[in-house]
Amino acid sequence: MASDPQMLANQRIVEDLASRLRRRQVVGSRQAALETLLVLRQVVSRARFSNVDQLVDVIRSVGRRLVDAQPKGRAHSFLYEYADFNHGSFITGTSEHSVGNTVRKVLHHIREEYHTATEGSTPAPAPTFSIAKFVSQGQPRKQQTVQKNDAAKVPLKENDPDDPDSFARTLKPVLMEAIQDVFDELETVYDNISKNAKDHIHSDEIILTLGKSKTVESFLKAAAHHRNYTVIVAETAPSFVFSSFHDHGLTRHFTRYGGREMAKSLSSAGISTFLVPDSSIYALMSRVNKVILGAHAILANGGMFATSGALLAATAARAYSTPVVVCAGQFKLTPLWNLYHEYGALDFGDPSSVLGFEEGDLVDKVDVVNPYYDYVQPELLDAFITNYGDHPPSSIYRLLKETYDDEDNEL
């Protein structure tokens, strides 16, 4: 089917990204999403296929490879797949969910483009009915696509034996455009989330935030153009900040007190900012009007993973009935449910930021636990602000359904 050099080239870039993910050389969900998209773009541009299923298979296999490469990144989906039981064992955890999410999103777009392109050119296959299908897909009427005859469409011929590439040739430009759309969306994600910032933050409010999140940072800065308000930043010791920069072709990250950087950045943007230790969050909460948090991943049940400390802030906010608002790009929507059951899902870093390695005496006697994330239950959250509008936690599953195709939840 596909020629070897192409396959090899694909394999190489996929493996390269896979190992960089594993080595934590690509860190941060947006960064990971961007890198994934770059890989997918190359894969699609090189792929040879004569029908859409072949293409979907290629992309899924790439996605599977990337997700599997992060042993913690593979989790069980919420929609049941007819997986062999032997493979169905519990695999869960998290490193960069956005990788899988991006793949799902691209697949969704590809199918969409395909359907638009094939509309009318191929007669819709006679729908088959069964009760099972009825249950899972609802009333049959809704599936029947209105037959539209658009003669102007270029005829798309799948599985053309004479010219197996014709399908790919016709479809590819559209697909590349679709991928570009996803790309553009990622590029503008911060702006789109921030555009309504002034509706969420009012003058003279006191906002509490935690650690450093690029999304929250741009959100707060955008609001500062219109409003005069105060931010309290908890330093989230010894949190991890993924300030990525390129060095020798590798993306590097440094681990620092995220809150400090955040406070610096906000105050330099002219926002009145206080930096407080994490332990004072509860004490300050009575004066806080709103808690704004970033997320690492938004889960299907409306809960989320966020920098450790987020649970503390959210719980304190609940005690004072302070609203908790989460700012996150849509690429963080993850069609997974059960991550919070798993201890390992919190992704534990090395203990060195908690206990110095030079404390030789203690190292041997103390087990240090240094989780990256907190799981915050949906009950503790009030709203998600995404680049696709604002949503309560309970409608996240709906958003997921619109964003991804069910069959891709398990790559």
Binding site: S89, I131, G138, Y397
Partner: protein, 325 residues
């Protein structure tokens, strides 16, 4: 009208240990189609509806049965029938019904696999009464994980004991707790896993009585409460309280009027052995109490079904898909 006895057919089918009530009802209805002499779709649907009504009236606990009947009838109503040949259509419908039952028998395994992923190694599970799908899940989990199970006794029928016996037979450590001891035991429990009679449109759960209080206790103790439900148990019902359930009747939980002393016991049975008129026996209690109760959706963490693990809200999406529009 045919001489087809739908309730007897239903009873016969239920003898098959594997068949749950909704499936038995669907099979009974397919047999009804077979026997039916209806010449039009309209007549057929009417016959089926009557049959369903008969089943409903005759069975003691018709809720999940209703769910099955409704599903099947709704399916038939919406089934596109372009061909003019009505007998062909009937054959097709019969085939569909039977095929679905065969397929539906695999749902328990699917659900078990789905729920399996939520069971951690070394967990302690609390379950309620007896449920085939819960059993299957626990047995599957036992093969690969170390689990221990608390089972409530589940008065009045005491089906929890059956669960405990079966679990012990395969070597799962198991302990029966009194229904009244759930709050005592809950701190030792990692999560609650129950089966269901039906899952209703609100996402709430109808299950053997006691489920509701377990869910309330679990909520109070911050333990996840999972329900297992095959998708044919999704029931288009929107109860707002316990007393909105079709199973509720005024006799349940009625207060017995204290009899003035000296009055003869005419109203009671003519049982000669009766000695103390104020004595209350278990049977009386059972009669005066509900078989099932309704658990509010906000107490349920997740519903595992063959269509996926759903939040309680997610269930309504499927019901709307089938019945609305």
């Amino acid at each position: 009208m045919s001489d087809f006895e739908i309730f007897e057919t239903y009873q016969r089918l239920l003898k098959n240990e594997e068949l749950s009530t909704p499936l038995a009802a669907i099979l009974a209805l397919t047999e009804m189609i077979e026997q039916s002499r209806a010449g039009t779709m309209f007549e057929l649907v009417k016959e089926l509806k009557d049959g369903a009504e008969e089943l409903n009236l005759k069975s003691p606990n018709p809720i999940s049965l209703n769910a099955g009947c409704e599903l099947f009838i709704e399916f038939i109503t919406l089934f596109p029938h372009p061909s003019a040949n009505f007998s062909e259509l009937k054959t097709e419908l019969i085939r569909q019904g039977q095929q679905y039952v065969v397929e539906a028998l695999t749902y328990r395994k699917k659900i078990a696999e789905l729920a399996f992923d939520f069971i951690k190694d070394d967990s302690v599970i609390l379950t309620h009464s007896y449920s085939r799908v819960v059993m299957q899940t626990l047995l599957m989990a036992h093969r690969r994980k170390r689990i221990s199970v608390f089972v409530t006794e589940a008065r009045p029928r005491g089906l929890g004991i059956k669960t405990a016996e079966k679990l012990r037979a395969v070597g799962i450590p198991c302990s029966v707790v009194l229904d009244s001891a759930v709050a005592y035991a809950i701190d030792k429990v990692d999560f609650v896993l129950v089966g269901s009679e039906a899952v209703v449109e609100s996402g709430g759960l109808i299950n053997a009585v006691g489920s509701n209080q377990i869910a309330i206790i679990a909520k109070a103790a911050n333990k996840p409460f999972y329900a297992l439900a095959e998708s044919y148990k999704f029931h288009r019902l929107f109860p707002l309280s316990q007393y909105d359930l079709p199973s509720h009747n005024p006799k349940l939980l009625s207060f017995t009027q204290p009899r003035p002393p000296g009055m003869s016991l005419k109203t009671q049975s003519n049982n000669a052995s009766e000695v103390n008129p104020h004595q209350i026996n278990q049977e009386q209690i059972a009669q005066n109490n509900p078989d099932v109760d309704y658990t509010r959706p906000d107490l349920i963490s997740l519903v595992f079904s063959d269509v996926g693990s759903l939040t309680p809200e997610g269930v309504s999406q499927y019901l709307v898909g089938m019945f609305a529009g």
